[in-house]
Subunit: 132 residues, 2 copies
DNA sequence: CTGTATCCTTAGGGATACTG
DNA sequence: CAGTATCCCTAAGGATACAG
């Protein structure tokens, strides 16, 4: 994202400019689908983000209101949790087109067959954990 | 995307690394929701992409199989069209959180109330146009 | 353990002139 | 109209040492 000013008021552009870098979605994924919650946890993720980059992304995600920082670690905000449907769609899409995908077949099946239920269930669980 | 090798087989990562740059989704948006189909059309979009960048993104999107190039202009592939649900979710999310969003209220209302219907309708229309 | 601070590199992007 | 070709530049990312 070279240009810092908003390129347009298009909603797709808003999304791209808000979390369309190469690490934000990875961190949100961790907060949604894994038990990683702390700085050290995120560093342990398979993708091997650099320490300074992680710090920068965490700060950015706080600035745009997608996460907060508590004593227990980082937490999703409602705004961040509201990206769950979109991210599930991305997972479903990748599951369909990436032959090497690590997404469990059972999970992909569930997304395809019961997307709404999965969203409801996951939202409930995460809302409880994050106190939303 | 500094690292060119795949960072992991996580489906979220696959999506990020496939179209997670700052222009791919803008082009896909044009092919889904506007009548822009040609190089010149894309250049005319509000976001003002540079000519060389556009050419590079169009080539990339062809390489990853999201679009094709016909005499009539660029077209979505099935793989590209399959990103419609995710993009609609992003639009819905931006509509909710971006005060300045240019997304028409009527469209946002439709997405919220009848997402499945909207997807079906749009998919049908675009499938016909693109011959999928 | 949770970050900062540095230093460095490069891909991505921006501007613009040009070509078939 | 549909791109190429250049040149340039900076933000994003990577590596690693250090600090509280």
């Amino acid at each position: 994202m070279r240009r810092t000013e908003r390129r347009s008021d298009c909603p797709v552009n808003f999304a791209v400019q808000t979390f369309g870098d190469s690490w934000s979605l990875i961190i949100l994924r961790d907060l949604m689908f894994t038990d990683r919650r702390t700085y050290g946890d995120f560093l342990g993720a398979e993708e091997r983000i650099a320490t300074n980059v992680l710090a920068a992304r965490l700060e950015h995600l706080q600035n745009v209101g997608l996460i907060t920082h508590r004593d227990t670690g980082y937490a999703l905000t409602q705004k961040g949790l509201d990206l769950l449907p979109a991210i599930l769609d991305l997972i479903e899409w990748s599951g369909k087109y990436d032959k090497r995908t690590a997404a469990p077949r059972s999970f992909l099946a569930r997304v395809a067959r019961d997307r709404d239920g999965l969203i409801a269930e996951t939202t409930a669980r995460l809302s409880a954990e994050y106190g939303l």
